[in-house]
Amino acid sequence: MYDRSSKLAAKGVLIEYWLHRSKTLFTAVKGVDLTVRPGEFLAIVGPSGCGKTTFLNAVDGLIPISEGSLTLDGREITKPGPDRAMVFQQPGLLPWRTVLGNVTFGVEAQGTMTKREATERATQQIELVGLKGFEDAYPLELSGGMQQRVNLARALLTDPEMLLLDEPFAALDAQTREMMQLELLKIWSQTRKTALFITHDIKEAIYLSDRVIVFTRRPGRVKNVLEIKLSRPRDLRVKRDPQFLTYEDEIWESIQEELAVPAERLIAGMPAA
């Protein structure tokens, strides 16, 4: 049954794939149950290598799931579609195209807009992400933060139902990252797209999200879900709010349990995770 209160629904999702070199079956995530509400900003955090990026790739339709169901508005996800757009960790910009050419690449690939319409709306999008005046610059002339703005604008231009963000600020320096978080929230509050955000940065997850989901270590599944009841709009000072710090502690402890296998579990001979 399709539940209207959820945009994205994952039920018992298992993702495994063959590692060609070692000829072994690799289980990335197992038994993932979660829903993303319409218009919600949801972040997934977890220990590195817990399969959170793999899960996001499955939501994008880039890799198939082995078991369970993954639905967007009640429709099974089988391949990439214009209803989703990904913001990648590596910007993945075409180096021979200008900022404008890269921003329009998404809609060009989807074939959903005429060239003139794409160019016109891309100009607005570029302004929205704060790159006005850089339309004709090439990616290699831009800083890492600016490249990620292009990456974001490219996804936004496709006007997706759902925005998927795969650690988009992980490669940026601390200051730039904070600025980008602030800007992302500003843009998100203007567009109110349902957003699924993957990160290993706990502060980032709390700061941006309505809810934070913690994944267990590999094979990943949902360990716990936290409602972030901080009022919006949020500025960067909220990161020093006592409530914020409480959330941070709670999530950090939850992740820490996953980092080190408790001694008694080892002795009891239980399988890791």
């Binding site: 994008d60 880039l62 391949k79 990439p80 579609g81 214009p82 757009a85 990904m86 990648f88 590596q90 993945g92 075409l94 180096p95 021979w96 195209r97 690449f105 998404g106 809609v107 060009e108 690939a109 989807q110 074939g111 090439y138 990616p139 290699l140 002339e141 496709t158």
Partner: protein, 284 residues
């Protein structure tokens, strides 16, 4: 209120100013630096030519053994006094144009197909490897048997000479497409055709042009060697006859013609390469 309190803060000692040395780096390169490559390049050539002329003038060797640059230049001018030279240039030029042109078109198509379709690569790999590791000029005797001593046998050698570097480089270009770019394109639902045209092909351009440039070298080798072995007209044939009849200045003038052609074609391709690299930030 004392005068000093509202006086603007000015450096009181010269030490406060950055040393002149450090300032220089922000000034645009001086004119001398700008012309350095041309000046030094010309100078080295002039010195080499002068040294060569001096040795030739010393009279230790006969002009048959070592003609000076002046004698070569005179022979070069003299080449163009008869109309025979145009037949030679025309013949070699046509061979080069047809052979190299075919190599570009066919090499590009095969290279792209081999890069894009793995099965196509597996199928053709043995042949490409065989020909790429064999100097194609060893096939000249065979081509003379098949096609005679006129243009077709030369075209075949030039074509095969240029074909394989173009195939190999084009294939490498396609294969070297960044995985991240492919992922982005797939994520936005791009069709294979669109990925090929908008991502793979533009990304391969530098590799393809490198292949073209390497191909020119092989093609020129093909022209000269094929004509040295057997031909009726052509610049290579001119060099061969001049050599066999001890007209050393004329022979070197022919060499000059070949070298000039090679340098000209390579420069043109280099220019085209630079045009396609406008997006790469300047290193200097």
């Amino acid at each position: 209120m004392s005068i000093q309190s509202w006086e603007p803060a000015a450096p009181t000692t010269t030490l406060d100013r950055p040393p002149a040395q450090e300032r220089r780096s922000v000034v645009r390169p001086s004119r001398v630096k700008q012309f350095e490559p041309i000046v030094l390049g010309t100078l080295s050539v002039v010195i080499a030519l002068t040294a060569w002329q001096l040795v030739a003038n010393a009279g230790i060797y006969s002009i048959l053994f070592l003609p000076g640059p002046w004698a070569v230049a005179q022979a070069f001018v003299k080449l163009f006094e008869t109309s025979d030279i145009w037949l030679d240039i025309g013949t070699s030029g046509a061979e080069l144009g047809i052979g190299y042109g075919m190599a570009i078109v066919i090499g590009l198509v095969i290279g792209l197909l081999m890069g894009w379709y793995t099965r196509f690569q597996y199928t053709l790999d043995p042949f490409v490897n065989f020909f790429y590791s064999t100097p194609r000029i060893v096939l000249i005797p065979l081509f003379i048997i098949w096609f005679g001593i006129d243009m077709p046998s030369k075209i075949a050698v030039i074509f095969l000479g240029a074909l394989f570097p173009i195939i190999i480089n084009t294939m490498a270009g396609v294969r070297n497409t960044e995985a991240a770019l492919l992922r982005v394109a797939r994520s936005f639902g791009a069709s294979d055709a669109l990925i090929f045209r908008r991502v793979v092909l533009p990304g391969s351009v530098p590799f393809i042009l490198t292949g073209f440039r390497l191909g020119i070298g092989h093609a020129l080798t093909g022209v000269v060697v094929a004509e040295l072995i057997a031909a009726r007209h052509g610049v290579g044939q001119l060099i061969a006859i001049a050599g066999q009849t001890f007209q050393t200045p004329k022979m070197l003038a022919g060499v000059l013609l070949i070298a000039g052609t090679g340098m000209l074609l390579t420069t043109i391709l280099q220019r085209i390469e630079n045009r396609f690299q406008a997006w790469r930030p300047q290193i200097r």
